[in-house]
């Protein structure tokens, strides 16, 4: 388990243009206090069955190349004249990778919230002595910060967050682009707990991308960021809706019933995301730019903790209901 004692070196803001300021720092401290009420470590530590040392032995399996000899069950080997490695049930420390979506759909408000969430959660993870890294979902994912545990990572994180900018429409990621880029990038890292912060409005969807990350052994937490105009649009009459992600425009006449229909569609989309996450034991959180950062963080912690507990319970033999 990670140590939650405060460290001597406090992270500070790195410049006047930094997103990190006194108010955010204060909110972050509040978050740390709140986080003590939740099993925050579950947010960053995926419970798993592993050959790594843990408190509880869950079973044996055939020895595979690379298994640590210390975990070979020699007594069983002697009885069966074969090599068996012990398996343990428990949590393991994982690197935490923040995937910050900076596609054209992420407006300034949404990207700002994504950055704030990244900073707050990464600070929390650093407090728990975890290795924290970040990747900007943009282009070929060139902007990345490899995971590190030390507090010296904090200035790098601030620099990384400040460097995140909304991409142009020409840089919008297609499904294949994201999968390819992440595949190539994430293969460089050992399995980590990935926190995807995005509005999830990618026209091609994120399902393939997430499944690919799961194949790579990463744990996933999805945080959906929406604006009020995404969830509760108020436009009426004749509309011209320009897509943020492409040069396409939508023309139409909208009345209150159409808005009701839009809300139904939006709720169905969000329910679909939630159901998808539930099927694959993925954490899913929803934050809105119209709420304060504190509210969003608290809601996120509640949700992720609940999902993590549910996942742990599943691994222990629950039926998943």
């Amino acid at each position: 388990m990670a140590n939650t004692e405060p460290t001597k070196a406090e992270p500070t803001s790195t410049g006047t243009n930094s997103i990190w300021n006194a108010q955010l720092e204060q909110q972050c401290r509040g978050l740390e206090l709140i986080a003590t009420r939740y099993q925050v470590d579950l947010l960053f530590r995926g419970p798993s069955v592993t050959t790594q040392a843990a408190a509880q032995t869950s079973g044996l399996r055939d020895y595979a190349y690379g298994d640590d000899y210390r975990y070979v069950d020699w007594s069983v080997c002697a009885r069966h004249d074969e090599l068996f490695s012990k398996q343990f049930m428990g949590s393991e420390d994982r690197d935490v990778l923040f995937l910050v979506d900076s596609s054209p759909r992420m407006t300034r408000e949404k990207l700002l919230l994504a950055k704030q969430l990244t900073l707050c959660l990464s600070r929390l993870a650093l407090r728990h002595r975890m290795r924290v890294g970040a990747i900007e979902l943009r282009g070929q994912c060139e902007n990345q910060l490899p995971p590190r545990r030390q507090l010296t990572q904090w200035p790098r994180l601030l620099e990384f967050v400040n460097s995140c900018q909304t991409a142009d429409q020409s840089e919008d990621q297609t499904k294949a682009g994201i999968v390819y880029a992440c595949d190539s990038v994430l293969q460089q890292y050992r399995p980590a707990q990935v926190v995807l912060i995005s509005d999830l409005f990618q026209s091609q969807g994120y399902s393939a991308f997430i499944r690919r990350m799961l194949e790579l052994g990463h744990g996933i937490q999805m945080v959906q960021i929406c604006e009020p105009q995404d969830s509760e649009p108020t436009w009426l009459g004749r509309l011209r809706l320009d897509s943020l992600a492409s040069a396409l425009s939508i023309f139409g006449v909208v009345d209150s019933l159409d808005l009701d229909q839009y809300r139904k569609q939006f709720n169905a989309f969000r329910s679909g995301c939630s159901q998808f996450a539930r099927q694959d034991s993925i954490g899913f959180g929803y934050v809105s730019t119209e709420k304060s950062l504190s509210e969003n963080l608290q809601k996120l912690l509640e949700m992720t903790t609940r999902v993590a507990q549910h996942r742990a319970w599943q691994l222990q033999g629950g039926d998943g209901s």
Partner: protein, 567 residues
């Protein structure tokens, strides 16, 4: 198609505001969205005609507004199967006057109104035009030809008063396809109409102003026994909103015979009667001449022929023949003459069944066909008063009694017992005077058969009327009574009777001899009818249907566009 309230059409400008509101609503809102897949899915569920929804909604609202505006303007539709119409156009002398030289005369107003009525009538409606001045004359029989009707509208007024009663009598029996035509009188309101006739016609009165006064009746009757003297009766109407003093004058051959200023209250008429001396024959001109720039404000003329002596055929004693011959106004016809006599006097030898001095009055109203063939009413005292001069001369009744008597006649309560100033019944006093005046020859006057009710002054009125008719002229008298009157005259040797067969006719002259105060009681019936009322009255109003259409359109729009059910 016409509008009763065309000013309401200005409400149509609201349509511009409505369109402006729609245009504002239709201004394209431009926005950038991240969730375009969801918007695409939303728009994909809209029906195909959704893009035209606003325009369809606007069309519905505009149609509803148009329907409401037309309903407010009271759109009306001609009913081409309207009742036939007789248009009576007043061309009397009273229509020639105008307030100033720049204003149109009343006749021009009447002409314009008649033109409008012809123009706005339903095209299939039959119309006839009757011009009414001193006489009533057809200008156009019933037709649907618009050009004929236009040409038939009288172009010029004439001299003389409005003979409305003559016109009504002329139209009494007119039927078109078994249907009684609608009678519309277009005039200046200065004409006499009795109450019975008022229900038969619709009056379109024009030119009501402070100078709307006219002589509506002018008649004269020779005074018996006084050659050259004429009893004149003039009715003056003040059809305005204020009382006036009218200078009346009678002119014959450019010589003023008589002038008098007459006060007439607003909305009333007054009768003036007086005797003048004129030569035989003569053309009399009566007029109202106020002190203004007009030479004569209103005038009417009447001509009379040389007076013919009354023809009397005397059957019986020669001394009765001598008696009539001694009276200069009678021409005594010998028995067996082929000439038609005005009076046939039969002198019998039978004793009088009545005691001496007793006066009985026959009631011809109940027992003889003494009816006005037009109005179907009994004669009223107003039908003979123009002959006052002749009657007074004949029996020398004092004028005060006559005035009192005729006052009662005018009030129109013929069976009421009226007392004179001395408390005696007026009728009894009149009869007493009659007997005393004729005392030399007459002891009993017996009229009719069996009635002895002296309280019915109407009975006496009819008797006097009959006497007058026997004495008067038979010219232009269209009605006859053929009642019989008996005079029982005392003879030196006993009692003989004179039987007078009345075969002459009574003239229904609606003239009264009234005092100023009584005259002003006679109110002129007001008419608020307008050209629009007449033309629009026969048209079907589409307002209810238009309002229903507007409600239906608004309901349709609300259900289709405001409460659109998404599939």
């Amino acid at each position: 198609m016409n509008f009763a309230n065309p000013i309401a059409l200005h409400l149509g400008w609201l349509g511009i505001a409505l369109i402006a509101l729609y245009l504002i609503d239709l201004l394209r809102t431009k926005s950038k969205v991240a969730a375009e897949p969801i918007w695409n899915a939303t728009f994909a569920r809209q029906p195909r005609w959704n893009r035209w929804r606003k325009f369809a909604s606007l069309s519905c609202h505009l149609l509803a507004l148009a329907a409401i505006v037309l309903a407010a303007a009271d759109l009306r539709w001609y009913n081409d199967t309207g009742r036939p119409v007789v248009l009576i156009v007043d061309i009397s002398a009273s229509t020639t006057h105008t307030l100033s030289e720049d204003d149109p005369t009343r006749f021009e107003l009447i002409y314009e109104a008649a033109w409008q009525l012809v123009e706005k009538r339903p095209r299939l409606q039959k119309m006839a035009i009757l011009a009414v001045g001193s006489t009533a004359r057809w200008h156009c029989q019933f037709t649907t030809n618009q050009d004929v009707l236009r040409q038939a509208i009288p172009k010029q007024p004439t001299y003389g008063a409005t003979s409305v009663q003559t016109a009504i009598e002329l139209l009494e029996d007119v039927r078109i396809d078994g249907e009684r035509p609608r009678i519309i009188l277009v005039g200046d309101g200065c004409y006499p109409i009795n109450e019975t006739s008022q229900g038969k016609i619709e009056q379109l009165v024009l030119g009501e102003s402070h100078d709307n006064q006219a002589i509506t009746h002018f008649s004269l009757r020779p005074v018996p026994g006084q050659p050259g003297r004429q009893s004149l009766a003039m009715e003056v109407v003040n059809n305005s909103s204020q009382p006036v003093n009218l200078p009346l004058s009678v002119i014959s051959h450019s010589r003023e015979l008589f002038s008098r200023e007459v006060s007439v209250a607003e909305g009333t008429s007054r009768i003036e009667s007086f005797d003048v001396y004129v030569g035989d024959p003569a053309l009399l001109q009566a007029g109202i001449n106020r002190a203004d720039s007009f030479s004569m404000d209103n005038e009417t003329r009447v001509a009379f022929a040389p007076r013919q002596p009354i023809k009397v055929r005397v059957i019986g004693s020669q001394r009765w023949t001598d008696l009539f011959e001694s009276l200069r106004q009678y021409e005594v016809l010998p028995d067996g003459s082929d000439k038609t006599a005005d009076i046939t006097a039969v002198f019998g030898q039978a004793p009088s069944p009545f005691p001496k001095g007793r006066v009985l009055v026959f009631d011809p109203i109940g027992t003889s066909p003494h009816w006005n063939s037009v109005t179907k009413e009994p004669w009223t005292p107003t039908s003979f008063v123009a002959s006052h001069g002749g009657m007074a001369t004949e029996i020398r009744l004092d004028s005060a009694a006559i005035d009192d008597y005729y006052k009662l006649d005018f009030v129109g309560q013929p069976t009421q017992q009226i007392l004179a100033a001395d408390g005696r019944p007026i009728v009894s006093r009149l009869v007493s005077q009659l007997v005393s005046q004729l005392a030399d020859n007459v002891t009993v006057v017996h009229l009719g058969i069996d009635s002895s009710d002296l309280t019915k002054r109407a009975d006496l009125a009819v008797f006097i009327d009959q006497l007058i008719q026997n004495i008067g002229s038979e010219d232009n008298l269209p009605y006859g009574s053929f009642s019989t009157a008996d005079l029982v005259v005392r003879d030196r040797d006993g009692t003989e009777s004179v039987q007078i067969f009345d075969k002459l006719q009574a003239e229904p002259v609606p003239v009264d001899l009234l005092s100023l105060q009584e005259s002003n009681l006679r109110q002129i019936q007001k008419s608020e009818l307008t050209v629009a009322d007449i033309t629009l009255g026969r048209m079907m109003s589409l307002s209810p249907a238009l309002l229903l259409l507007a409600i239906a359109l608004l309901t349709f729009e609300w259900r289709c566009f405001q409460r659109r059910q998404l599939i």
